[in-house]
Amino acid sequence: MSAETLSPRQRTIGRVGAPVLVGVLGLLLWQLMVGVFGVSSYLLPAPTAIFAEANRASAHIWNGALITGWNALAGLIVGTLLGVVFAACAAASKSVNAMVNPLVAALAVIPIVALAPILNTMFGSTQFPRQAIAGLASFVPVFVSTLRGLRQVDPELRDLMHTYAVSPVQTFFTVTLPTAVPYVFTGVRLASSLAVISALVAEYFGGPRGGLGGIISTAAASSQYPRAWAYVLASIAVGLVFYLTTMLLEWLANRSRSTASG
């Protein structure tokens, strides 16, 4: 059965069906291991127990997802705006580029676990430290990707804009930024997962309760594993929502380009 013998429809079914099948089989195996082979439910709760807990605490989980999701979103938006602005400055001036690049390299290697406790102490019981950390994590991929995009401008278009005798600002908005847009959205997609992970992990280090990360750490600390896993499940869902949304945005940004390219 080679791929060529399948119709496109069959291939679509295969593409969607295969991972679903693997997932269901995995869950069954997991359930079997816990139920039949007697792996302690203390070590590994059964999927049924996790789903039951998720169902029971759905209101709390929804609330926690909103808090963490909002922190990640605020960070992602601010980080993206800063990333685009800094990249525009770096693309416009060699000296700004030389100043900003080491800073970005430093930001890229800051471990969230190191920064979170410090910011939590500095800003106390607000959501700000989480949003700031999500913002920092988002900034780096957006900056790197956007800067790359801003440098893709066709030299012929640059010459053309010069012959029109227009301002650098007009050139930026007419030619440079539109060229970079698909790159910006690739950066945003990469940043989206980082923003969610950062917002979650930042909650492990104190500050106001209620977010998914905070509850996971409390539940795990008090050995309420089905509860912890239920919140992990919700975290995955939040991460997926972010990733899929930004992927959709990226697709839309490229699609307006590809209607442009027939």
């Binding site: 053309l160 010069h162 012959t163 442009a260």
Partner: protein, 299 residues
């Protein structure tokens, strides 16, 4: 019309003057003075590269009259594109004097005295054909209604009225170049600068575009500086062909095309013996009298 003068005679003569103006403009624009479209005197251009200085242009002197069609032809590295870039103020001469319509190239660029078209059409892929043509007008803040009218007029001129809503990548190479030419004409420039605009097109499209270009030039009365490395193309289009030679780039010869006026030419000329005589003249000049090819396309 704006002046409701009772003197019928003066308004009639005014209308007559307006009628004849395009013709007069071809011969002597800018208020009757005979200012050359391009006047280059002893222009040198030296590029500093990592492997030393490159003498791109040496002692180039050239005058292009208003409304005149001048081609620059020569092998790669003869500086023909460099010369065009100097006129367009995309680079500046190292030494020598260069004026465009009696002004510095910088001033002429700011006044939008010329329109430019490159080998790659250089269209913005995220803008429709109409928005590409209207780009210079939009950037120079022309009123929207005026812009729309001008874009419609230009698309009509290049025969693309039905494609105003299309995106560049939905068009063929020849159509893209026509959009680029329409865009270059948007500000009603007195000169067109064209750097191998048909270089990437197939032979048949190329010949059709050449005939269309002659028609458009006759309609607008603009001077043209046309960079090419095709001898027949240069001969077919030009009033004068400037033959350049490389290392350092300089003008070897300027050949007058002893053919019909460029506005009267048609495809029939391509089979005329005078046309072949001119092709021979340009070829011999390019090869410096010898028959050895020096990388110039003879098609």
């Amino acid at each position: 019309m704006t002046d409701p003068t009772p003197n019928g005679e003066s308004s009639a003569s005014g209308a007559k003057a307006a009628e004849t103006r395009p013709r007069a403009e071809r011969g002597s624009p800018a208020g009757g003075t005979n200012t050359a479209a391009v006047d280059a005197a002893h222009v040198d251009k030296v590029f500093a590269t990592s492997s030393g200085e490159v003498h791109a242009l040496s002692d180039v002197s050239l005058t292009v009259a208003p409304g005149e069609f001048v081609s620059l032809i020569g092998p790669s590295g003869c500086g023909k594109s460099t010369l065009m870039r100097l006129i367009a103020d995309l680079d500046s001469p190292s030494t020598g004097e260069l004026s465009v319509f009696g002004k510095t190239p910088d001033r002429a660029r700011r006044d939008q005295d010329y329109g430019i078209a490159f080998q790659k059409a250089g269209l913005l892929p995220w803008r429709t054909v109409a928005d590409n043509v209207g780009l210079p007008l939009q950037l120079h803040k022309a009123p929207a209604s005026q812009r729309k009218a001008r874009v419609a007029e230009l698309l009509e001129m290049v025969g693309l009225s039905d494609f105003s809503g299309h995106y560049p990548d939905q068009l063929s190479g020849g159509m893209q170049q026509r959009v680029a030419i329409a865009r270059a004409l948007a500000e009603k420039p007195r000169m067109l600068l064209m750097d191998e605009p048909f270089g990437a097109l197939d032979e048949m499209t190329r010949e059709r575009m050449q005939t269309e270009l002659l028609r458009i030039c006759a309609e607008t009365g603009a001077a043209v500086v046309f960079v090419t490395h095709s001898i027949p193309e240069a001969v077919y289009l030009s009033d004068r062909v400037v033959v350049m030679s490389p290392r350092p780039g300089r003008i070897a010869e300027v050949i007058d095309m002893e053919l019909a006026d460029s506005s009267q030419r048609s495809d029939a000329l391509r089979e005329d013996s005078s046309y072949f005589d001119m092709i021979t003249a340009v070829r011999e000049s390019l090869h410096g009298g010898s028959s050895a090819s020096r990388g110039v396309e003879t098609r």
